[in-house]
């Protein structure tokens, strides 16, 4: 699974179970693409900042990259495209976004590791 850590920082308290449920609705579709269920995550978010971590391209075909990359604005536009670009490597990516940058899903390439790295 792509996401191996989620930490959420809010002005208001958020029910951890809600976060967990949202993450569990993340999955792999019939084409082998990973679907990150941002709709579910965004729906429980209050105005603030969130971080999520992903490390996707650690299959055999991924370009080796041991670095940790932090990207702000990672939920849309150039930030999102950059996250996807790094996702073709084995780099660990820390995505930072805000809930108003909501998007339905981030699709990243397949050849994913089975579990957390």
């Amino acid at each position: 699974m792509a996401i191996y850590w989620v930490t959420v920082r809010f002005a208001e308290e958020i029910n951890r179970t809600e976060v967990q449920l949202a993450i569990e609705r993340t999955g792999i579709n019939e084409s082998g693409k990973i679907i990150v269920n941002f709709d579910a995550l965004v729906s429980i978010w209050r105005p603030s900042i969130f971080f999520f971590f992903m490390s996707v391209g650690s299959g055999e075909t991924a370009m080796k990259d041991d670095r940790v990359i932090m990207i702000t604005g990672a939920t849309s536009g150039i930030g999102r495209a950059t996250a996807k670009r790094f996702a073709s490597t084995s780099a660990k990516i820390i995505c930072i976004g805000r809930n108003r940058m909501a998007l339905a899903e981030v699709k990243v390439k397949s050849n994913l590791p089975e579990g957390p790295p």
């Binding site: 002005a11 900042i49 150039i78 930030g79 495209a81 950059t82």
Partner: protein, 199 residues
């Protein structure tokens, strides 16, 4: 008169950053791609709109760079800031945005000099019009956005707007070891737009 200041966000950004880096135990690259745009001139930009622009496009980047610097020093890492052609050239009607991006460019160059002795590189990319949600989020209607994209074909010498993946490729390059002797660059990636002059 009172001026609301959300100091909570500063606090949360700091804590969030610390927890993120504590979890990964290192940081190699910081890419500041978060951005905000809105229209407005010297005559009609409110102080609130000005502050909102600077907070997202400049202040948050400054703070994250400051937080990241000691970690990047350990890994000889680097920073890539997403600026704009509006940082390099002047356009009417998007005053605060232009100023925030010009500030971001100078932040990039000054930090590049200050962090160079620590082998930390700092660069920026300066895209022209790229198809993203930023314009519509900034208040542009769908029909106006379509017109804007159409007109942009004529304002960019290569005859088209850019795609996010094209900018991502440049960011990826600047963040890589292939760019190991590049620092303080504000790299135009705009189909030639920054070269143009009205005639």
């Amino acid at each position: 008169m009172s001026i609301p200041v959300d100091i909570t966000i500063d606090h949360e950004i700091d804590r969030g950053f610390d927890e993120a880096v504590a979890a990964t135990e290192r940081l190699d690259v910081l890419i500041n791609a978060a951005g905000h745009i809105s229209t407005g001139t010297i005559e009609d930009t409110s102080l609130n709109a000005w502050d909102a622009m600077m907070n997202v496009n400049l202040r948050s980047v400054f703070r994250l760079m400051q937080l990241a610097a000691p970690h990047l020093e350990k890994t000889c890492g680097n920073i890539v800031n997403v600026s704009s052609v509006t940082g390099l050239r002047s356009f009417p009607g998007v005053l605060a945005y232009c100023v925030s991006k010009a500030g971001l460019d100078q932040l990039t160059r000054c930090a590049a000099l200050e962090l160079a002795p620590k082998s930390v590189r700092v660069n920026a990319v300066n895209p022209g019009v790229v198809v993203t949600e930023i314009h519509k989020r900034g208040g542009m209607s769908e029909p106006d956005y379509e017109k804007f994209l159409e007109r942009s074909k004529t304002t960019h010498p290569l005859g088209r707007v850019g795609q996010p993946s094209e900018i991502a490729d440049l960011i990826y390059y600047l963040a890589s070891a292939s760019a190991s002797w590049i620092t303080g660059a504000t790299y135009q990636i705009d189909g030639g737009r920054a070269l143009t002059c009205a005639r």
